[in-house]
């Protein structure tokens, strides 16, 4: 809420400077978001007095004026307005002045006459809404004074929290200032002179939905002369961010800002039979609202109607037909209390949130319906010369007394960690106009109000009763009182200590394994990225797996279910929850390639999401994804860089498996996954620990994903522990004390036999003495057949209890050769 300090001073004396006041209010919970010097944008606008006004010799619409701008300086200024006369004091923009909106005023020639500045209208200064006439200042306004010194103000922008609707008003904020300074609040004086026919004879009201309209107060004004509100009022409204409209409407808005109570004014002539009914809208009813939009009303909407139909959507917006206009002579004031939820729903349905509906949504003080009706009537009488009919129409004139909240001072001290005791707490509450009294018996303490109401009984002497001011609807339970005590005391006075209560039992952090993987990959040269979980539907489809990647790992959700869509997404690029990480990673690759970068090596640890309609379960599973393109290591002057290849991708996965203590993954050819190069992609799995795919991106996707790179290696893996759990603990075996013996073996097999198959055969035939198998060469070409290749391995043999003999090794090698011949059709090269 925008709070002009000069207006606020109407209700309380303030000695603090604006910065001090802002800080004190912020510490009280009324956060000041900004301090604006309002009027600071009138530069070089001063008060002048018109000396002469004559018609421009060559233009009927223009006047030539001479203006005294103080210190004996007289300027000739050409002016187009017709409301000026010698002797008036007016705002003068001097050459060089800058007006709101950045408009610059210079010396200029107008129809052959030089104009040394400009006389300003209220609209040009953003002071009033008068567009046509020059703003005529009061006669005593000091000559030559900068206008900002007269009308400028300091405006605090205060963030009033949703539970403090009462403070969306100047009076409410004056009460907060009073808590800070102790100065008394001056509630506006409602000097109402009633005359003539009583209201009850002039209008009648009927509330058909008392559940949605707890109170409806109306007043009747006659002999209304609609015109502009006094300048000072217009200036205040402008400073508070509201546009002045007319004295009648401004009176309503003024009171809304002053008391926080929205009211509505009807042209009485437009109300059939002068009878207002509060009811729900009927099917098929329409209303042209003040913004000249024809609206089809919903049967849930609450309306204020007459016999002919709806006149206003209650609490939201008035109708055009009953709008107060220049022809209006009689006005009906509506000051009602509508149901906050109903107002909120209707406001959302029409996407209409006004200053008024905002206040209705936060609830209204019951007695304000009466006070605001009187206050608006009084102001219209003063500003528009109206007569106020005697009495009000009021649907619920009986006003309830203050509510009481019993509380235990000891419990509040226990919650806050203070030792205030009852005496000090009473004194603190009194500063917020909360009276306290001692109950004369056991008290029922409200602990929780909603859903499952809970109370406690406090014995004699344990409790006090807080008598809540009628405007403080936010104080309902004991902990509300605790907050009020803390807030008025000042949170800064709560002594800081460190927890010394019992500790919870140990649990592994789910971040543990993720951090190991992250550190390992960063050490291997990859940079971590974080991409959006919401991606484009196109990306979800393009990267959908043809076949499930494998069973879920322990502790994680299975990757299953249909994609989950955000129904109110702001952008189609971020509308569906991802099911894999690759689309986002490739987007990052594309962005960086576009920056002219060639080498990109990135990874992300993140979730995929799915909804399994059959089971009704929402699934969220963790994955590691990576993308590699360009050089795998930085080039040096004596080293040529090497591109990232499929084997690097596999190597990274093997590195992580090793780091996490998993068995090395077995690689098999990946088929039927359109995202991957069909000849250069693999499935990798390590039972119960790791499963996923790695490969080159299918070249066809380079175009659709806008990737300017020849080859990109991508991979996505599920790893045990990403979702939580502890890293595998290394289980140490004794270091072998007998020598290892190496033998090289080259086997020729058909090219349809993969290295993976050959290695598996070697390992199974080699038995326990074979401790290591390392592929060191693959050869194709003469003298081998066209469809053959030779795989060369270094085999390591070792026993833990003896030095192996040549004979033992030869036996094992023979078994390997036989196995290769039998299972892979291989022959051994000499």
């Amino acid at each position: 809420m925008r709070v002009p300090l000069n207006w606020l001073r109407e209700y309380i004396d303030i000695q603090l400077d604006p910065e001090q006041l802002a800080e004190r209010l912020t510490l009280l919970g009324m956060e000041v978001k900004g301090i604006e010097a309002w009027g600071a944008d009138w530069r070089s606008v001063v008060v002048g007095e018109l000396l002469t006004v004559v018609r421009h010799p060559r233009a009927d619409r223009l006047s030539l004026t001479t203006v005294d701008v103080g210190a004996g300086q007289v300027l000739e200024i050409v002016c187009g307005a017709t409301n000026i006369a010698p002797g008036q004091r007016v705002p003068v923009a001097l050459p060089g002045a800058v007006l709101p909106g950045g408009r610059r005023i210079e010396r200029a020639e107008k129809m052959g006459v030089v104009s040394n500045g400009m006389l300003c209208s209220g609209d040009e200064l953003n002071l009033t809404s008068d567009v046509d006439g020059i703003l005529i200042l009061p006669p005593g306004t000091p000559l030559g004074t900068e206008l900002s010194n007269l009308y400028g103000d300091t405006v605090l922008d205060i963030d009033v929290k949703p539970n403090r609707g009462d403070a969306l008003s100047l009076v409410g904020l004056a009460r907060e200032v009073s808590i800070v300074t102790g100065a008394p609040v001056r509630f506006p004086e409602i000097g109402l002179v009633e005359s003539g026919q009583p209201t009850s004879e002039l209008l009648s009201i009927s509330v058909e939905e008392p559940g949605l309209c707890r109170r409806f107060v109306a007043r009747w004004l006659s002999a209304v002369k609609v015109g502009p509100a006094p300048d000072v009022v217009q200036v205040r409204l402008q400073a508070a961010g509201m546009r002045p409209i007319s004295n009648v409407v401004d009176a309503s808005n003024y009171v809304m800002l002053e008391l926080g109570k929205p009211t509505h004014t009807f042209d009485a002539a437009a109300v059939h039979d002068h009878r207002l009914v509060v009811r729900r809208a009927r099917a098929g009813e329409r209303l042209e609202t003040l913004d000249h939009v024809q609206r089809d009303l919903a049967v849930e909407d609450l309306v204020v109607a007459d016999a002919a139909g709806p006149l206003a959507i209650a609490g939201i917006i008035g109708g055009a037909s009953s709008e107060v206009s220049e022809r209006t002579t009689a006005v009906i004031i509506e000051s009602a209390i509508f149901d906050p939820l109903a107002i909120r729903r209707t406001g959302q349905r029409y996407a209409l949130r006004s200053e008024a509906s905002l206040r209705f949504e936060k609830g209204q003080e019951f007695r304000l319906a009466r006070i605001a009706a009187d206050r608006v009537a009084g102001l219209i009488a003063e500003w528009a010369g109206a007569s106020v009919a005697a009495g009000r129409a009021d649907s619920a004139a009986a006003e309830p007394g203050p509510t009481q909240v019993p509380f235990r001072p000891a419990r509040i001290d226990r919650l806050l960690g203070t030792q205030l005791g009852p005496g000090e707490q009473r004194a603190i509450l009194a500063r917020a106009e909360i009276a306290t009294e001692a109950p004369n018996g056991p008290a029922t303490i409200p602990i929780a109000g909603e859903v499952k109401p809970l109370t406690a009984t406090a014995g004699l002497g344990e409790a006090l009763i807080a008598v809540i001011p009628s405007w403080r609807a936010d104080l309902e339970i004991e902990s509300d009182v605790a907050e009020e005590v803390a807030r008025v005391l000042g949170y800064q006075k709560i002594p800081p200590i460190l927890p010394h209560t019992a500790m919870p039992p140990y649990l592994d952090s789910p971040l543990g394994v993720r951090d190991l993987v992250r550190q390992t990959l960063a050490g291997a040269g990859l940079t971590e990225v974080v991409t959006a979980a919401l991606i484009a539907p196109r990306q979800v489809e393009a990267f959908r797996s043809a076949t499930p990647a494998g069973p879920a790992l322990p502790g994680d959700d299975p990757a299953e279910g249909r994609p989950i869509r955000a129904v109110n997404a702001l952008s189609s690029e971020h509308a569906v929850l991802r099911q894999q990480l690759l689309a986002g990673l490739l987007q990052v690759v594309a962005l960086n390639l576009h920056q002219g970068r060639e080498d990109v090596a990135i990874f992300e640890i993140g979730k995929g999401y799915g909804y399994d309609e059959a089971s009704g379960l929402i699934r969220e599973w963790w994955r590691l994804g990576f993308a590699l393109t360009g050089a795998s290591q930085p080039p040096a002057w004596n080293r040529i860089s090497r591109p990232w290849e499929l084997d690097d991708g596999k190597g990274l996965v093997e590195l992580i498996a090793d780091r996490l203590g998993f068995a090395p993954p077995a690689w098999t050819r990946l088929v039927g996954e359109p995202v991957f190069h069909p000849g250069r992609s693999a499935s990798g799995a390590s039972e119960g620990a790791l499963v996923g795919r790695v490969g080159e991106l299918h070249p066809a996707l380079r175009a659709t994903e806008d990737l300017r790179a020849e080859r990109i290696v991508i991979g996505e893996f599920a790893l045990r522990g990403l979702a939580g759990g502890s890293p595998t603990v290394a289980n140490i075996v004794p270091i072998a004390r007998y020598p290892a013996i190496e033998r090289d073996l080259a086997v020729v097999v058909g090219q349809d036999r993969t290295a993976g198959e050959v290695e598996r055969t070697i390992r199974s035939a080699g038995g326990g003495l074979l401790r290591g198998v390392r592929l060191f060469d693959i050869y194709t070409g003469p003298p081998l057949g066209a469809d053959e290749h030779s795989l060369a391995y270094r085999l390591i043999f070792q026993a833990s209890d003896r030095t192996l003999t040549d004979a033992e090794i030869e036996t094992t090698l023979a078994a390997i050769r036989a196995g290769l011949a039998r299972e892979a059709g291989g022959r051994i090269r000499a």
Partner: protein, 346 residues
Amino acid sequence: MDLTSLSSELHRLRDAALASVAAARSSATLELLDVEVLGKKGSLTAVLRGIGSLPPDDRPRVGAVANEVRASIEAALAERRATLRVAELADRLATEAVDVTTPGRPIGRGALHPIIETMGRIAEIFGRFGFIVHEGPEVEDDLTNFQMLNIAPDHPARDLWDTLYVDVPGHLLRTHTSPLQIRVMQAHRPPIRALLPGRVFRYEAVDASHASEFFQVEGLMVDEGTTMGDLRGLLDEFSRAMFGHDKRTRFRPGYYPFTEPSVAFDVECLVCAGSGCPACSRTGWMTILGAGMVHPVVLQHGGLDPERYQGFAFGMGVERIANLRHGVGDLRLYTENDLRFLEQFR
């Protein structure tokens, strides 16, 4: 052959050998010489073969001469060998010299994302105070995200969270990490010290200071005697650990439906050190998190008796903390993943 001629033969051989040793320019020549003179088929052996033709009485005398000759040649060889080894090492060192001013061979190293790192740092700090990390679903139900946190449907405070809804009935993308408070209380009995990090979502147009996806860390501590004083003390420690010991903090009222009393926690502006600047809206303070004592209704939904248990919760935006720590001014940098940005966090 007689004694005299054999002796003179030996002396000649010695003189020639010593001359050759002295003239040798490399260890290899020297080793060759060693074999030629002293080897089994060497010249000394050849001369000594003549010893058999001498009378037995002369033989020891020639033997003595021969030993003397062998010893002197061996000594000369050893000395020359040592000299040459030093010279040769010096030569090798000279030829192996390189330009030591060339740049070192770069070793590729990646960077870790500042948001995940900051989240980890927050978890580490609170971990020192016994807080344990728990995680939960990002696709959350309305009940846990709002209603159990004392935010009824149509509650005006719902305006504080612009919500993205999903096509699973009753569900939404969690707007904050606060629903994890409920989940932790339902799953674990007090004493509870929980740290709840994760991704959250908002229905929000993206610009420099707004994101539709970002990360939060929630904290929850509940037992029988946790006070607002504990909350203040702990947050002060957090600020010291994260922003430095010299930064002042401010503990002031805030508003959340799920805490009562509610707290906003500020740290002295890191840009202007409290004197007021555009970064802190000229207040000298930056709000880094919201907090408060867990509302009794929330304790009830967590299955705890609000008369027995009490505690606090706090929540912070990870991007905000990272912004302050690293001087980042635009949230989009975190999600764009431009490597020129990310690689600065190495």
